[in-house]
Every structure is written in structure tokens, then in C-alpha cells.
Symmetry: C2
Subunit: 212 residues, 2 copies
């Protein structure tokens, strides 16, 4: 009898402790959130060797679509397989999201540096046009970091443009591994997707709906 009472008392004390801890967390969180009052267009970088850099970028584009806010995507590197998002967006939400695919194949699939540079420059021109257009609330520059890494486009020029010419309220998302330091310095929000475990290592191939 005593044991049961003790157990119940212990459990009630645990519950009370839990409630108090959660109440403290809630108060602390509300206090922090109250200080966050500014809004501005962010420079967002998704980098690292892990998965989800482009996928999270497209996720934010879908959020914009969900809220009826216009956006645009420039794909700097086009993998032949990566057509899922493009088809879906063009079919259902073409009026809300413009989509340009200007890279052709992964860089290691093309062996012509001059052509790669010309294509990257063309993609960057289109990107600037879309960012300057204040109707776009977000512009996703998918895999631009690969073009920057190989110096197909100049990181200093990209940083200058984002700082000096990007409209104040426009979000720009830049994805791809090996983001340059200059870009990270200029960004407001940087996430590194780190690969902890990958099924390729155990012989599993890229699968529809996951990788593309």
C-alpha cells in the first residue's frame, strides 16, 4: 500500500517538475521571440556534403507557393533526373513560380570549360534579372555553389550584387556543397548539411522520390 502511494507521489512530483520545466521554457522562449521584430529579405546558404540542400530550398519555394507569394528558381546545374520539382511546379503553380534550368548536366559530365563558363554566366544574368524584379519574394539559385567553386562566375561579383542590388525584402537561397567563405560571410542564414550515413555506401542506388 505504502509502495503504491509512494510511487504515485513520485510520479506526481515528476509530473509537477516536468510542468514547471516546460513553463520555464515557454516563458524563456516568449521573452526571446519578443526581441525578434525585424523583417528583411535573407541571404540563405545551404551547403555541406549531406543531403537536403536543394530539397530544403525547394521546400521553401513550396512554402512561398502555399502562401501565394511569387518566387523563381534558377538551376545552375541540371541533372537529367532532377525534373520532378520542375514538372510539378510548371504544371500546377506556373503562375506563382518561374523556373529556369540553365546548366546542362553535372559539371563532370561536360568537358568543355569555356561552354560551362558561358552557361554559368547566362544563368547568373537570369538570376540577377529575377532578383531585381521586386514581385519575386524569393529566388532560389540551385547549385550555384558549384559554378562559384570552379570560378565559372565570380564570387565577389555575386556578393556585391546581393549586398548592393538585392531588394531589401527579397530572400535569395543559394545551394550546393563547398560554399565559398566570402558567400558565407555575406549570408544571414547558413546551414551545413552533414552526411552521417549514406545508403550508396551499401550498394543502394538513387531512388525515385528520394534523390529525384
Amino acid at each position: 500500500m505504502n509502495e503504491i502511494t509512494d510511487e504515485t507521489a513520485g510520479s506526481e512530483a515528476d509530473l509537477a517538475r516536468h510542468a514547471m520545466k516546460m513553463a520555464k521554457k515557454k516563458t524563456a522562449r516568449e521573452k526571446i521571440m519578443a526581441t525578434k521584430t525585424d523583417q528583411k529579405g535573407l541571404i540563405i546558404v545551404n551547403t555541406g556534403k549531406g543531403k537536403g540542400k536543394s530539397t530544403a530550398g525547394f521546400g521553401m519555394i513550396f512554402r512561398h507557393i502555399a502562401h501565394g507569394m511569387p518566387s523563381a528558381v534558377v538551376q545552375f546545374i541540371k541533372g537529367a533526373w532532377e525534373t520532378g520539382e520542375r514538372d510539378l511546379i510548371e504544371k500546377h503553380f506556373g503562375d506563382l513560380c518561374q523556373f529556369y534550368t540553365l546548366g546542362e548536366g553535372f559539371t563532370w559530365e561536360t568537358q568543355d570549360r569555356a561552354r560551362d563558363i558561358a552557361m554559368a554566366e547566362k544563368a547568373w544574368e537570369k538570376a540577377k534579372e529575377l532578383i531585381r524584379d521586386e514581385r519575386n519574394s524569393m529566388v532560389l539559385l540551385d547549385e550555384i555553389n558549384i559554378a562559384l567553386r570552379y570560378d565559372y562566375i565570380d564570387v565577389a561579383e555575386v556578393v556585391r550584387f546581393l549586398k548592393e542590388e538585392k531588394p531589401h525584402m527579397t530572400h535569395v537561397v543559394l545551394t550546393g556543397r563547398n560554399a565559398k567563405e566570402e558567400l558565407i560571410d555575406a549570408a544571414d542564414l547558413v546551414t551545413e548539411m552533414e552526411l552521417i550515413k549514406h545508403p550508396f555506401r551499401s550498394g543502394i542506388k538513387a531512388q525515385v522520390g528520394v534523390e529525384y
Copy 2:
């Protein structure tokens, strides 16, 4: 004159070196890809303190939708603001993706552990039902890691279910920070989203289309 010739020669040699490097990369990549022949449903974990865990999960759901493959989402923690994806999916793709929101508020918004546990258990029951249904090619268990972390549901039971009862071809995506070691051990693909820089630190508040 000589200088110009030398420059041109140097540049051509550079281009040739670049082409050779890219050709080697392409061959190496093709060799690796040829060994990846298996297909199976993956246990995918997105964890870490950075952004993009849920967003990348929803991105994979949108890929499934793009390919016309049925999927389902269970949200274990419902933030009042996180309705963008749900509204978009229900409005346009309700026939392809089932959506269940069973958590209520962030855990630190509720101060009733018993109620939290009951809700997490209900969400887990729904998750099992959706995973067992072989029509679903992917099931996203959004923010389940928070329920696991507070031991609202038992990680050993979740791992056992995924290993023993998950249909072979079904992908299950589990998101949320602080993924438990047992879950990481059982997973095929684990990505840690690491926070490098966050605009909250400089007084910028959560913004529509980015955070929600």
C-alpha cells in the same frame, strides 16, 4: 606577340587539363554508380540544430507527389504557424498525400506530460497504420525525434517496428533535432543539419515563406 601566344597556349593547356580532369571524374563516377543496383525502402533521418530538417522532408514528399506516388505525413508536433505545406497539399494533392497533425503546440507550450504522452502514442499508432499500408511509398514522421527524446514514445519499439514490420520498399523519413543513437544506428541515410549562422541572433523574426 610572344606574350599573347604564351597566354593563349597556357589557357589552352589549362582547358585541356580541365577537360581531362572532368573526363576522369565522369569515368570514376560512372564506375561507382554501376555498383549501385539495389533498391529498397530507406529509413531516413534528418537531425541537427540547423534549418531544413522538416523542409527537406516535405521536399521529398513533393517529389513523390511530382511522380504520382502516394505518400503520407504525420506531424508529431504542431506549431500553430506550420500550416503552409498542409494547406497546399490538402488543396492540390489530397488524393496523393494523406496528412495527419496529431501533436498540439511545441512541447514547451503544453505543460501536461500525461496529455503529451497520450498524443504522441496516438500519432505513433497512426504512423504504424500508414507505414503498414503498402500503397504508401513514403511516410514522413515530422518531428518524431522530439517525442522520442522526451520518451513520450519508446525508441526501441520504433526501431523494432521499422526493422520488422516496415514493408521492404517503403521509405520512412524521421525528422527533428537530437535523434537518438538507436535510431541513427537503424537508419540507412542520416543527415545532420548544422547551424552555421542564424538571423534570429541579429534580431530578425521568423518570416512567412522561410520558417513557415
